[in-house]
Symmetry: C2
């Protein structure tokens, strides 16, 4: 009845039919007491309002559903110490961490408690654990190389938080590419903030007000980039005529006509599916310790409408 | 330990402190067996990817959290007959229905089973139940009246689904206002579809290709309106110079510079809070039957940048 894959389809159908006929409803509570398994997964997310996370939640939910697991959403801060207590109380089988901080010891706690878990999109530091991520360093380096290739010299950046693996790795990759291209990142034109619309919206105003303003700004996520586009619109700054912008993620919104945001794509759906598979394998392996597994997807540079040569560029001969 | 509000703060603190000292973790499973209460609420949502629902999920989650309830998200189709079985199995205390169809008998089933539930945003037909909604008919009539007031005569609409209460009521309100203003709705310029970006994007193309094209289009939701703006951008149709657009909802995105969507605001946060309160009251009243309660919020017309007089309008003398 719980869609165990070790049971053949024919047997499952017979049991289901018999249960239907008898009006039998499996009690999750009874089942939990007998098997100590709840077939429940907890997804921890700190930002329900972000346009990025729905892209991750839907395929995660489906992948778990298909394997007979229910995914519950916890929206607390992952640093909140009450979450672990609550996770224990709800007796979940495993945890997906999508928004941990590098410095959080929550993953350490899960590890110490023996709770199976997986990182997706972001990771914490120093925890040997399963994870499914894109190569953020490489992805941001593609964005940096593109700005160099288009001839930009006055380059700024609105990075994500330094205390997240995605924020840190994207900043590192971007800086590496600029270095390699012999272009300095103007430190007066560097900002950091949460991966939100508001971050891009507020900081872009500061950057274009500096003298001389940057001709290109790398944004640590598409949400930041879309905030930046909106700020540019408000300030009458032509994108990409006067200012080029590049994001990171390739959420669906990035391809909308009003944005046409040049960005770096991470394969969000495949990342989610891989994370679900890693976690389920770990749960079903039982007390046997699997080694930590790390799946790293390749990023892809996506050229759209927000990257052009700088306004002061000499025409290409 | 379960934050019962009938326990004084002082007693609660003493119990919590003692439990901390003993390392006691309340087992939800044990508690469920003793009290038959799980302190769990199920939220049923069919569209996790929509930009509207996160605005509803976050305040719902917080309101339940504050009252000591955990909200779990179910993303199935509400018509799916397995959902009720699963809801029973997880032994939840109550259900929030945010995306029911008018024709769905799921709410009837919950009612028959004695499961406490509340409608928020949308309702089903013929079920005497608690609900927290905006006056959708009135709201859409404000949009219709504004189009008439600005002098539009060739008016189209991209409504939501007729099988949803929001789709039906907004269409009705819009038609009533046009009738009252003596303006016909051009039936060749009427479309209906899901409350999504794609609906607006695809149908706007059809409407502006008709001869003569409408000078104003009402969109049944902001997501539809934002899809329409993007389609207009792709087709080179100036908004609002050649085409006026009005949405419904006032999600945060509607106020972004690139959209500046004129729309009808529903107070989403207050609707969510009221829905949580209605459901908690019903759960805590126990077997006592409360009468069905209906909370209807007032809509507000929000004037932004996508509504102007039609291009063929005589200058105002």
């Amino acid at each position: 009845l719980r869609a165990d894959r070790r049971v053949t389809a024919a047997t499952r159908d017979r049991v289901t039919a018999a249960a239907e006929q008898l009006g039998y409803v499996a009690s999750e509570i009874g089942r939990s007491l007998s098997s100590r398994s709840t077939r429940r997964i907890a997804l921890l997310l700190t930002d329900l309002g972000s346009p990025f996370y729905p892209c991750l939640v839907a395929p995660l939910y489906e992948a778990f559903e298909e394997a007979g697991y229910r995914m519950d959403l916890f929206s607390d801060q992952s640093d909140n110490p009450t979450v672990l207590r609550r996770l224990r109380r709800h007796s979940i089988d495993g945890v997906v961490l999508a928004t941990p901080l590098l410095t959080s010891d929550f993953a350490q706690d899960l590890h110490a408690e023996g709770v199976p878990f997986v990182f997706v999109n972001r990771t914490s530091e120093d925890v040997p654990a399963d994870c499914s991520v894109v190569d953020n360093t490489l992805g941001a380096s593609l964005a940096g190389s593109a700005l160099v290739r288009f001839g930009h010299h006055r380059i700024g950046a609105i990075f994500g938080p330094a205390e997240t693996s995605t924020g840190r790795d994207r900043e590192r990759g971007f800086r590496i590419a600029l270095d390699a291209g012999g272009i300095a990142l103007d430190e007066a034109s560097v900002r950091r903030g949460p991966f939100t619309f508001e971050t891009g919206y507020e900081f872009l105003g500061e950057l274009v007000a500096s003298m001389p303003p940057p001709t290109a700004v790398f944004c640590g996520s598409d949400a930041i980039g879309i905030g930046a586009i909106n700020a540019a619109r408000k300030l009458g700054v032509d994108v990409p005529g006067r200012l080029s912008l590049v994001g990171f993620d390739d959420i669906p919104m990035a391809s909308w006509e009003v944005f046409q945001l040049t960005t770096v794509r991470q394969p969000i759906q495949r990342m989610a599916e891989a994370a679900a598979r890693l976690l389920i394998e770990r749960i079903e392996a039982g007390p046997v310790q699997l080694p930590p597994r790390r799946i790293v997807f390749e990023p892809e540079f996506v050229s759209r409408g927000t990257l052009a040569p700088p306004p002061d560029a000499a025409p290409i001969p």
